[in-house]
């Protein structure tokens, strides 16, 4: 299987949905990918099951604040440098590139890295969505170290980070990224095929592609939001999906601080001005509260889409007055285990709540 130029728009759209408000603008990633494919040909897509147990896989991703990505865009040679340096550090060149985060720009960037380096890309990732921090990945939750990690900026400055502790890795990489201007590329999470088979979420590249396609296709027949919800309900990971709220943006507070895009957004129902939903975000949407009651919370997915076209709206393009629907989707089971919740549950984000699966929250 190959990713074709025709697929890029649907992939970017599905990745934006799974980006849960963050993950960066896939459009920029898809422009870079378009060039990479045009110059190097489309990379081969490999299923996790078809990997050799001893194959060496490198993760590739961008890290920083999505707001900054909209300005700094992408380079291309920075990814190549990161992969090369990681190979030098480990003493082995990779057999394939594996995505870390399927939500947002990190769906398309690793595919571009694969095209540029001539390696295959694995149809999987470590989240099935987007998360703001390096340790919030299934790989590291279950024991694969994010480091050694090579961090590269647009000036082609590079830093190699080595630590046993994934949270320390996040802190050091974040500190480096902040000093580098909050938009860097990394190659990290070197792992074996065996480890990928144990800890990767399979097929998420095609899931993103098909979700994006579901939105586009259902526009023709009527209701794209219902169309994508129907698609999600038919998948293994996202089977509990529903509309949490419908309304317009009535307040928005957003700032770039501590290495993230932080803030909250308030939506007011068009039918009843007293009915409000508030979303808090740290790059991605973390919790949805309707009139004070939690309706969805991390690691479950919260997505905001245009009410009529179904187009996903990232935090960066939220604007006062937009008419939207807020969708809640269950996270993959691998993210809802007790070990996972220590790392990607509400308390890991500083929220004073416990996780309740979305399917257990009354409407």
């Amino acid at each position: 299987m190959r990713i074709n130029l025709d697929d890029l728009e649907d992939l970017a759209r599905g990745a934006a949905l799974l980006g849960t408000g963050g993950g960066g603008d896939p459009y920029i990633g898809s422009l870079l990918l378009r060039h990479a494919i045009a110059a190097n040909g489309p990379p081969e897509v490999v299923e996790v099951e078809d990997l050799d147990d001893d194959a060496m896989l490198f993760g590739v991703a961008m890290l920083g604040a999505p707001t900054v990505l909209y300005e700094k865009g992408a380079c291309g040679d920075d990814m190549e440098l990161a992969v090369r340096r990681l190979g030098e550090r480990i003493g082995r060149t990779p057999d394939a590139i594996i995505p870390i985060e399927i939500g947002g720009v990190n769906s398309t960037l690793p595919i571009a890295a694969a095209a540029i380096t001539g390696l295959p890309i694995v149809n999987a990732d470590g989240m099935g969505r987007a998360f703001p921090e390096v340790q919030m990945v299934s790989y590291s939750i279950y024991g694969v170290s994010p480091t050694p990690a090579v961090v590269v900026d647009e000036h082609l400055n590079s830093v190699i980070v080595d630590t046993d502790d994934p949270l320390v890795a996040e802190n050091i990489i974040r500190a480096v990224a902040i000093r580098m201007g909050l938009s860097v590329v990394m190659s990290c999470f070197a792992m074996t095929g065996r480890e990928a088979k144990q800890y990767a979420l399979r097929g998420t590249l095609t899931l993103a592609l098909n979700a994006g396609r579901a939105i586009a296709d259902s526009r023709k027949s009527g209701d794209p939001v219902s169309g994508v919800i129907e698609f999600l309900r038919g998948t293994e990971f996202y089977k509990h999906a529903s509309v949490l709220f419908e309304g317009k943006v009535s307040d928005l507070h957003r700032e770039t601080a501590k290495g993230f895009a932080l803030g909250h957004c308030r939506f007011t129902s068009l039918e009843n001005p007293a009915d409000e939903l508030v979303l808090e975000f740290q790059n991605e949407f973390l919790v949805a509260r309707r009139n004070g009651t939690v309706k969805a919370i991390v690691p479950d997915l919260i997505c905001v889409v245009d009410r009529q076209s179904g187009e996903p709206i990232p935090v960066e393009t939220l604007k006062y007055g937009q008419r939207v629907k807020v969708i809640g989707i269950s996270a993959a089971p691998i993210l809802r285990t007790p070990e996972a919740l220590e790392v990607v549950g509400p308390r890991a984000f500083g929220l004073n709540e416990d996780f309740v699966p979305i399917e257990e929250i009354p409407e």
Binding site: L31, E71, L182, L252
Partner: protein, 517 residues
């Protein structure tokens, strides 16, 4: 008696209305001329023929025009643009014009200069401005005879200093350069902002010519009242401002027709369907103003991020050509302003949608007998197709399945003769065919401030209050009646590099234009 004249210069027709306070005294419609000036002068002349009208009592003339949109979309009269992107080493994987349609990028010449410089998100310097490279770029532009320059700097909305410095260097080398700085036009998002600046620059030599023809028309009629030009958001800008920022007029046409429609019907929330000679624009009115485009606004196939109304355009108008082979199709080709020569009802030999409406019996135009030979089955299918195109368009713009009121405006509104499913009522106000010009005439004058406030010192609420007050002041300074001002747009951009939790606030206020002294 404080009269205003609203004018809409469309691709096909130039419309004018004479307004006294809240009432329309008279209106007229005349074909747009290729020199623009004659058509405007003719329209002004006609409305001033009204016996009660006196040129001394005209206190303002407002002109809305699709001239710049049309020029850009049709790739006409576009200048070659020198594009200076000051961002290296960042963003080099997404160079300028990377997402432009090929013919459009070719039309403006692909003169791209990637230059070192730019800021970080927090205002710190990412790379020093390479002044030598700016000089070299300017020299190359000068040698190619390029006068129109677009400058886009990395994070320029946070700090525009490098853009301004580059602008001064360009002016030293090309003294008559017309320079568009991206920081004045767009927001965070380098490609979208840069694209807006490039589009603006491509129209910067056309703009003064067009504005001058408006001024000449006023002079011919001995109108000494000030000239205002309609903006995208339904407010007015001075003619001088419009010469520099023609891209701010792009959707003033649809905005004006929607606001004019709202005014005529006394309705604030509705779908507005404006059927012109070549296109139909469909928008949604919310609280008297058009709903804004959600994410990006695409202008001629190019992504930008300036504030624009959400308008769906269909290739259906009163002059649209109806073809029967191989299957029934309407438009997008149109006879445009040649309707009165080419349509069947006027003795021509082109089957147009207007002919269909006349043949079906619900429109009166020209000589109905000249459609006598048309096959009634074909007429019926064409009528159905016209209505289903409109119905689909309305459905795309609606926010729910609930029926909505529809206001029908524009000269091509004669094409609608049947009920449209999904609508609660179809209102065709009097003077519907000049709703654009009415919208221009009732437009309010706006003022905008763009300042930094310390949230730490003042607190967010107090800072907002101060900013709101400053915006209202700016509006009254521009000519708004004090006490009539409202806040229409607020944008917050936190700036971390300046101590004190500093935030950049852009606030726009609008108010009723007062009668000039």
């Amino acid at each position: 008696m404080a009269l205003r004249i609203g004018v809409d210069v469309g691709g096909t027709n130039t419309d004018a209305v004479l307004i006294d306070g809240r009432s329309v005294i008279t209106a007229c419609k005349t074909p747009t001329t290729s020199d623009v000036e004659s058509g405007v002068a003719e329209a002004l002349n006609e409305v001033l023929c009204e016996p009660t009208a006196n040129v001394e009592n005209v206190h303002a003339v407002m002109i809305g025009t699709t001239h710049f949109t049309n020029a850009f979309v049709e790739r006409r009269s576009l200048s070659q643009v020198g594009i200076l992107r000051i961002a290296l080493p960042a963003a080099r994987g997404i160079p300028p014009l990377v997402d432009w349609p090929d013919e459009l990028a070719d039309a403006i010449g692909r003169h791209v200069f990637m230059i070192r410089g730019g800021y970080q998100y927090d205002g710190q310097i990412n790379a020093e401005l390479d002044e030598k490279a700016v000089r070299s770029a300017a020299q190359q532009c000068r040698d190619k005879g390029i006068r129109s320059i677009a400058v886009c700097g990395l994070f320029s909305p946070v700090n525009s200093e490098m853009e301004e410095r580059a602008s001064r260097i360009v002016e030293e080398i090309i003294p008559d350069a017309v320079i568009t700085l991206s920081s004045r036009i767009g927001r965070i998002g380098i490609l979208a902002r840069e694209n807006a600046a490039i589009i603006n620059a491509s129209l910067c030599e056309l703009a003064p010519r067009v504005i001058r023809s408006f001024r000449n028309a006023l002079q011919t009629l001995k109108i000494s009242a000030p000239l205002y030009i309609s903006q995208n958001d339904g407010t007015l800008m001075s003619a001088e401002f419009a010469e520099r920022y023609p891209v701010m007029t792009f959707s003033s046409g649809p905005t004006n027709s929607m606001r004019g429609a709202a005014y005529l019907c006394g309705v604030n929330d509705a779908i507005v369907v404006d059927i012109g000679g070549t296109t139909t624009d469909i928008g949604m009115l919310v609280n008297g103003f058009p709903r804004e485009a959600t994410i990006y606004a695409e202008l001629g196939g190019v992504r930008t991020n300036i504030r624009m109304p959400d308008v769906l355009s269909l290739g259906l108008g009163g002059g649209s050509i109806v073809t029967r082979d191989p299957e029934l199709r309407i438009g997008p080709q149109s006879v445009g302003f040649s309707l009165t020569e080419e349509a069947l009802v006027f003795g021509g030999d082109t089957l147009t949608t207007s002919d269909v409406a006349v043949a079906a019996g619900y429109a009166k135009l020209g000589d109905a007998a000249l459609t006598g030979d048309l096959d009634s089955a074909v007429v019926e299918r064409a009528v159905k197709l016209i209505h289903s195109m409109i119905e689909d368009g309305i459905d795309t713009m609606k926010l729910s399945a609930d029926p909505v009121p529809v206001i029908l405006v524009g000269g091509g509104s004669i094409l609608v003769g049947r009920d449209i499913p999904g609508t609660s009522e179809v209102i065709v106000p009097q003077h519907a065919d000049v709703a654009n010009a009415i919208g221009a005439s009732i437009a309010q004058i706006g003022g905008e401030i763009d300042r930094m406030y310390s949230y730490e010192e003042l607190g967010r609420d107090a800072a907002m209050e101060q900013a709101y007050a400053a915006a209202r002041s700016a509006a009254t300074d521009a000519g708004a009646i004090p006490g009539t001002t409202t806040i229409v747009d607020v944008e917050e951009l936190p700036l971390a590099y300046i101590p004190g939790g500093t935030v950049r606030l852009r606030v726009k206020a609008v108010g009723e234009l007062k009668a000039s002294a």
